[in-house]
Amino acid sequence: MSVSALAAESRSAPVSFEGVTKRFAGEVLAVDHLDLAVENGEMLVLLGPSGCGKTTSLRMLAGLETISSGTVRIGTRVVNELPPRSRDIAMVFQSYALYAHLSVYENLAYPLKVRKLAKSDIARRVQEVARVVQIEELLKRKPREISGGQRQRVALGRAIIRRPSVFLMDEPLSNLDAKLRVHTRGELKRFQRDLATTTIYVTHDQAEAMTLADRVAIMNRGLLQQVGTPKEVYHRPANMFVAGFLGSPPMNFLRLELQRENGALWLVGPSVRLPLPPHWTGRLPDASSPTREVVLGVRPEDVTVSARPVETGIAAEVFVVEDLGHEQLVNLRVDGQAAIARLEAGFEPAFGDRLWITFDPARAHLFDPRTEQHLV
């Protein structure tokens, strides 16, 4: 049976979180009024640092945590009160959670046995799935006898075997070593496509999120920061957190002052005086004061440096140069603030050199220092 035939059996359903909140006994809100609509068949990645609420949200969807307030729907059904088994979901755990006392075959068969499928049907399905995830030779072994990567595939197989409406994945790759992780990442993406089933995937690794997701939902401290396609959140971050979380090395932030002078805008700092493109003027919120503090955001890969002074550039001093072989990361200091530029090999600045930074304004962002919201 081919993977595409699997897709034909898909019973995929959309998922929605409506004002979902989770409060643990007397503590801070783990999840704060989450509003999120996951489209049917899409791979949505919940991304964020540890403690941001992504895993809690996933577990509420699974039915492993109670919902303090709000509504969770699978399809049109409200599932708040349903136990996990009635929600038609399947989950891959970070530790795989394979049944240690059962063989691989029995692990795969478990969900089907519970549903009282006929033995022959179970056997057939197990063989199918084993072939799809490539663990056919392992069926008789116990979990402790197989490798981490193999266990991960068994966990995946156990999730697939039921054709649920929704797949839940809680950092399934984080226990794999780096090389295997990258390889499995690609396979997972392909899988999800072929299975054509709504998948909610939790991770703290932004590279993983960017490569796997149809859309990314970034969370911090229980609050949803932004939802969008990887391109959207990368190039048009809603706030400083999202901007700083995505991308490696992270976006550069420089605190500067925005000044109006004769109808033109300038970015000003102790050693900076940058004119801004005129069409930005319209996009800024009302400037009753002639000056305001802003944060300039530019990604390291969007920065160009030159040894010769540039008028529309920012003066900077080289702090450290990290040579990675195929590229160089130049750590710079601008008026005491740090910045990183990503350069191709070849240009080799020395410690203490003075350089001038330039960038394309179209790739630059301005943030309000207090609210951290995106301005332009």
Binding site: R85, F93, V114
Partner: protein, 278 residues
């Protein structure tokens, strides 16, 4: 070990051997005496190794006095106690380790049970005796088994909580997602994985019940009399049958030793809470 003199080493080994000998000698002596006929038993000086071994004591006990009757009683009582305690205790242990009851009841329940465990049975034997008399449970194996089960309940709960803690939570969560209800998870995942611990706990309760004296003394008379009471009974009679008593002592000890061997590994954990039996 660096800096250890050979004299030091010899001394230490000697001390260890001495300790083990001290421990084993009375046991050896007990076995030794059990095979002595009456005359050799009371011989002066006592023979260090029995010279005329005889199984007369054992034969007398088992055939004439039908000591096996007491053995059966002890067995039934211990089985009742162990089965009941392990069943009830395991259920409670699972509940206390996987669920958080409101208002910190988990903690209070455990605290109360452990504290009660620390009281000697002596404080409640009088009312128990009266109640049992009224209920017709006096001198019954079921009655004694029930009390023993209660006595060992805290031990079971304590141990099983420890064993359940060792089972990763997400294995049970996976089963919940796969389709089990919470009882099925207990039956199909938790208990199979905690099985060795269950067995060890069962054995420990069995041993405790088998060895128990005071409650058996008060709550049984002739029908349900257990081995320890029967053995003690031999000594307070007018005619003390020396060899018989020792044989009885050995017989009472044997099953327990065998079982202890089986549960060896988990013994420490259980003893820490259970204390010395009796």
């Amino acid at each position: 070990m660096v800096g250890e003199t050979s004299v030091g080493r010899i001394l230490k080994h000697a001390a260890a051997v001495a300790a083990v000998l001290l421990v084993l000698l009375p046991v050896y002596w007990m076995v030794n005496m059990s095979f002595k006929g009456r005359s050799e038993f009371t011989a002066r000086p006592p023979t260090l190794v029995v010279e005329e071994p005889t199984t007369a004591n054992y034969r007398d006990l088992l055939v004439e006095q039908r000591f096996d009757r007491y053995g059966r009683n002890s067995l039934v009582v211990a089985l009742i106690a162990a089965s009941l305690a392990v069943t009830i205790g395991t259920l409670a242990a699972y509940g206390l380790s996987r669920f958080r009851l409101p208002k910190n009841i988990n903690y209070h329940l455990l605290f109360t049970m452990l504290t009660v465990r620390m009281f000697p049975p002596i404080v409640t034997i009088v009312p128990l005796f009266v109640y049992y008399r009224e209920l017709g449970l006096l001198d019954t194996r079921l009655g004694l088994g029930l009390v023993h089960a209660f006595t060992e309940l805290p031990l079971v709960i304590w141990m099983m909580i420890g064993f359940f803690r060792d089972i990763p939570r997400d294995m049970e969560e996976a089963a919940l997602v796969d389709g089990d209800n919470r009882l099925q998870v207990l039956r199909k995942i938790a208990i199979p994985l905690a099985a060795p611990g269950l067995a060890a706990t069962f054995i420990l309760v069995f041993i405790s019940s088998w060895n128990e004296f005071l409650l058996a003394l008060v709550l049984t008379e002739s029908n349900a009399q257990t081995l320890p009471i029967a053995v003690a009974g031999q000594i307070t009679q007018y005619q003390v049958k020396y060899g018989n008593i020792m044989a009885a002592g050995v017989l009472t000890t044997l099953p327990v030793l065998v079982l202890a061997l089986l549960a060896q590994r988990h013994l420490t954990r259980g003893l820490a809470v259970g204390g010395v039996t009796g």
